[in-house]
Amino acid sequence: MTPRHQRMLAVGLTTAGIVLATALTLRALQDNMMFFISVSEVIAGEYPEERNFRVGGFVVEDSLEIDGLDATFEVTDLRCVMSVRYTGVRPDLFREGQGVVAHGRMGDAGVFEADTILAKHDENYMAPEVAESLATHVDQQTASLADYSTECEPQ
């Protein structure tokens, strides 16, 4: 084994070791790496009760009720649905059918009391005219947003 081969082996093994260690660490921290948890997890009771957390999903069509700074709406991950109440300034992109991440805690009546809401947009970019001609696609999405209750089975 030449010195160069030894160095090659050392660099290779070190790199492999670091990758393995990082992969195991990230696996162990999987839950903490999540920016938000899904509606299904909240419905299944898999959320911290004593502290704040974030929940992410889509704002259900026709569920948004606005009274000044007060907003109540329903959020779905296309399987389950839950209610959210929020008071404050809403981001421009926040609207029905749009992705949302709410930060806060569960209230007594099963309503999520949010202190911050963030709008989440998708990875598609297109002109407004194109989006209109794709309206059928949007209708399909709306339809699937309405189907949620059939699949959600709280445990």
């Binding site: 992410g56 963030l118 709008a119």
Partner: protein
């Protein structure tokens, strides 16, 4: 093949070759960026959701891509330098770090400016994409600080190369963070399954910007490597000849 690589890696040969290549990177890069800016800021339609605010993508995406690209080049060069004891490879790694750090800063800054109106926040601690990109900025800083702290060039090369290799594990984490974990950041647009999720009128200027930024990065990198080589070889005969002959020309 090996003969060719050895010739290429010899400092004086590389020094001369790089000078000839730089304009071929710089000018096409500039033209592509002009086209990209014109096409992206004026010709492309506004986005159906984000309106005109989406146009910051034309700086954000190329910067973010190059922040990762520069780190990859730095780590691979550092590895080659460690294994083959190639001085030029260490020079490339040293030269790539500050450029990569600037692109990382640019990606974070434009992302923050974009996030404020669209998401409703400048910054979110705990988001995997945002945090891992910030970690990379600190890795660049650490690499440069470590290099600066050791006077002996050969020792600085080896120590900082190990740091560059250790930090390389962060590159795939940044790239896949939006797929492995839930994030405020949306998934990939260009490398999406089934092709880019973007109108052609928006897409072509973006691709031009990415290629243009890459070419300018190449020109900057070559320029910095030349300076680095000159400094490292300052006691050799060929550099002395070079300096003397250019001094004579000036007279």
């Amino acid at each position: 093949m090996w003969k060719f690589i050895h010739k290429l890696a010899s400092p004086p040969h590389f020094y001369g070759l790089a000078a000839k290549i730089i304009p071929w990177f710089f000018l096409p890069g500039l033209i592509l960026i002009f086209y990209g800016l014109y096409g992206g800021l004026l010709l492309a339609p506004p986005d159906y959701q984000q309106g005109d605010a989406f146009r910051i993508i034309y700086v954000h995406v190329p910067s973010a891509y190059l922040s990762l690209m520069a780190y990859s080049i730095m780590a691979i060069s550092a590895g080659i330098g460690l294994i083959w004891r190639l001085k030029l490879a260490h020079a490339v790694a040293a030269a790539a770090a500050p450029i990569g750090a600037w692109f990382t800063f640019l990606a974070l800054a434009t992302g923050s400016i974009w996030g404020r109106p669209m998401w409703g926040t400048w910054w979110e601690w705990g988001d995997p994409r945002l945090t891992s990109e910030l970690v990379m900025l600190f890795l660049y800083f650490g690499y440069m600080a470590l290099r600066g702290a050791i006077d002996d060039t050969a020792k600085a090369d080896r120590a900082s190369a190990v740091l560059a290799l250790v930090g390389a594990v962060n590159v795939p984490i940044i790239h896949f963070s939006v797929e492995w974990w839930s994030s405020l950041h949306q998934g990939p647009t260009l490398m999406k399954k089934g092709g880019p999720a973007m109108d052609a009128a928006m897409l072509y200027p973006l691709l031009a910007m990415i290629l243009g930024f890459t070419l300018i990065f190449g020109a900057l990198l070559l320029r910095r490597v030349r300076t680095e080589v000159l400094y490292r070889e300052r006691r050799t005969r060929w550099v002395r000849h070079l300096v003397l002959s250019s001094a004579v020309e000036k007279k």
